[in-house]
Amino acid sequence: MKLELGYIQIKDIQFSKECKVDNGTLYVDPDAVKAYLYEDDDVKAWVKDFGFDIAKPGESVRITPVKDVIEPRVKVEGPGGVFPGVISKVETVGSGKTHVLRGMAVVTAGKIVGFQEGIIDMSGPGAEYTPFSKLNNLVVVAEPNEGYQDHKHEYEHAVRIAGLRAATYIGELGRSVTPDETAEFETYGIKEGLEKLPNLPRVAYVHMLQSQGLLHDTYVYGVDAKRSLTTILCPTETMDGAIISGNCVSACDKNTTYHHQNNPVVANLFAAHGKTLNYVCNIITNENVYLADKQRSSDWTAKLCRLLDLDGALVSQEGFGNPDTDLIMNCKKIELQGVKTVIITDEYAGQDGKSQSLADADPLADAVVTGGNANEVIILPKMDKVIGTLDYVDVIAGGHAGSLRPDGTIEAELQVITGATNEMGFNRLSAR
């Protein structure tokens, strides 16, 4: 399957009476976007109002609580549309041409009590830890209807859909824009790959999806990942939004939809594809809460690795705690099939860094890349402007009572920062 991505570099976002992309600037009319969001019945039912704001790199701006980050994309050629099974109809994506509004994102935020959401600082020390401080962000702040607290799942669904719809609307503006740069991505069928790259090691990406339920969910073509068995995906499918985040787990190591669209493991395996390895496919597997599910899913992961005659597998995790067991089970079982693994995780070594970093361990996990210790404490300075609200800083994962100090600074663990210790290896942060 071959996909061409056409990158349209967005250097600025401005509110305007019309919506368009012109010479690297996105002009957006908030009312038009809002009207499009409200065309969805669930959004109508649960969201009282939307506010819109723009946050640019280097500004003294803090966005919190952040729910999801999404990159606007539009399918311009080939089957299907973006976010298949959720926004577009279910049809296999990952081939043809897709335009990408690069350098920007749609960020959903707002009063989302009880969700484990994060902080994006656009400048200062916190900005160094989140990749989203480098983007021009169109922030969609949702305000819930009364009574949403008893219907968190419905509300989460509504905000999730709203974010995806906003990104779809913006992405559509890039349909007829000539991209600044294009790139092609192609993986081969099994036999084709063997013929074309006979001497290169066969490698797959084992992509673990958070699926613990209770608002810790990921969707694949609209299917809740916890109800799915381990299966195979073409790497290009994720670029068209086949996997989306419905995830309200700790901000630092949850994979936002943006992470799925721009999966760095996929990008780096493609960079090595045909040179030092043969990138065969992605294997997606879940992180469920039952031991039987964990056993079944990791058995299947290992089985697929064997069936595909892989030489190596790169495993990425999402979240921490009991998913560490999924990670280790996957790693161990794949290794026992004679397939060499590297795993990417992050650490919870305590604020002093002295505790055991993972909840599980196995000697076969001898090649580990870490996204850093999420417990490390950081002081975030006061920002001139807050998009969203500071009301939840003390309660989001990684915060504590008193995290928000009287002078407006925040003392919290890195955990609170969206994407800080990402386990797809999105960042340079590490630990030793």
């Binding site: 760095p264 650490e347 002295k354 030793r432």
Partner: protein, 347 residues
């Protein structure tokens, strides 16, 4: 004003002598001695070695309490800003002394300490207690080690926050610290996988916590019916070292018959070990491998039998991986031969 440092080195680096002088008792000298110069140079006057303590490696190992007491008293008197030991490279007893004395200075005097050695030096077992800079496995690594140790030491004396082990050059000490790598995690992971697939070396960023303890086996019930085997890392070999076991960093082990041998004598056996004074073992190898006593006990019926073969290698500088491989291999031979228990001696 520059910071004051007390430096600890062994007899070899103080130019007193090698193994034959390893017995020398600790002494205090003014200023720097030997490798201390490299540290002083690197500090460019910001810090200075004001006193050096020299101690023989065997002396330290055999009179640890006494050596510690003397060294601690001197360091206390000197009131330095920092105590630095070594670097010891792959010298096992020197490394053990460096780490042990540094730990004592840190714990009992509350003075910050730093040492340096090769990762597989037994002294490195204290790396979670004492800050240890990882060095090459021979003194040839001094040129590289000195600036790393000097820089880290200065940072500590200035009270600056120290970075992650990978940045600063110290051995991972169980305290995880964040830092920014040059490449993103996914790129590092792909590179690591390619290295692993092509059997090239790679370094995991998070070594799995080690639970490697083997539970003790059941005791021997009846010694009078038991076959006991002798093994040693003290390098005892038949005279002339027929298999050329290296005196350091051994690449193999020896398997020798002692069937019918009552006593190891200067004419028949010697040691191949290069890490300790060989005079005593060469004069009477029973001092390392007690064949004479076990033969006696065999005759008395105290033990069933002394196994016909003994296994030997040189512990000195031998990598843990190699030592492990050797022992795992000959343990199977012992098992097949029906050996009931093993006495392993080390020097």
């Amino acid at each position: 004003m520059s910071y004051k440092v007390v430096h600890y080195i062994n007899q070899f680096f103080a130019n007193i002598g090698g193994e034959e002088m390893a017995h020398v008792a600790p002494e205090l000298r003014e200023g720097f001695v030997g490798p201390g110069m490299a540290l002083n140079t690197a500090w460019k006057g910001e810090a200075e070695i004001t006193a050096t303590i020299v101690c023989g490696d065997s002396y330290f190992a055999e009179h640890e309490a006494d050596a510690k007491e003397k060294v601690l008293a001197w360091v206390k008197e000197q009131k330095p800003d920092m105590f630095i030991a070594g670097p010891a490279f792959n010298a096992g007893r020197y490394g053990y002394a460096c780490a042990t004395i540094a730990n004592a200075v840190q714990e009992e005097l509350g003075i910050p300490v730093l040492t340096g050695m090769y990762e597989e030096n037994p002294g490195a077992d204290l790396k979670n207690k004492v800050l240890i800079v990882a060095t090459a496995n021979s003194a040839a690594g001094m040129r590289k080690a000195a600036p790393v140790m000097a820089k880290l030491a200065l940072k500590i004396m200035k009270g600056e926050k120290i970075g992650a082990s990978a940045e600063e050059g110290y051995m991972p000490n169980g305290i995880r610290r964040n830092f920014f790598e040059k490449e993103v995690g996914a790129k590092r992971a792909v590179d690591m996988l390619i290295a692993k697939l092509s059997d090239k070396p790679f370094t995991t960023e998070y070594p799995m916590p080690s639970f490697d303890r083997v539970a003790p086996n059941k005791a021997v019930k009846d010694l009078s019916k038991a076959t006991i085997a002798l093994c040693t890392s003290g390098g005892i070999v038949p005279k002339g070292n027929p298999d050329h076991i290296e005196s350091s960093s051994a690449s193999h082990y020896g398997e020798y018959s002692i069937a019918g041998v009552d006593d190891l004598t200067a004419e028949t056996y010697e040691t191949a070990h290069g890490g300790y004074d060989p005079v005593y073992a060469n004069a009477d190898a029973d001092r390392v491998l007690p064949v004479d006593i076990l033969r006696e006990m065999e005759r008395e019926g105290k033990i069933g039998k002394l196994h016909d073969f003994f296994y030997t290698t040189v512990g000195n500088g031998t990598s843990v991986a190699n030592a492990k491989k050797f022992a795992a291999e000959y343990a199977q031979k012992l098992l097949q031969a029906g050996v009931h228990a093993v006495i392993m001696t080390s020097t």
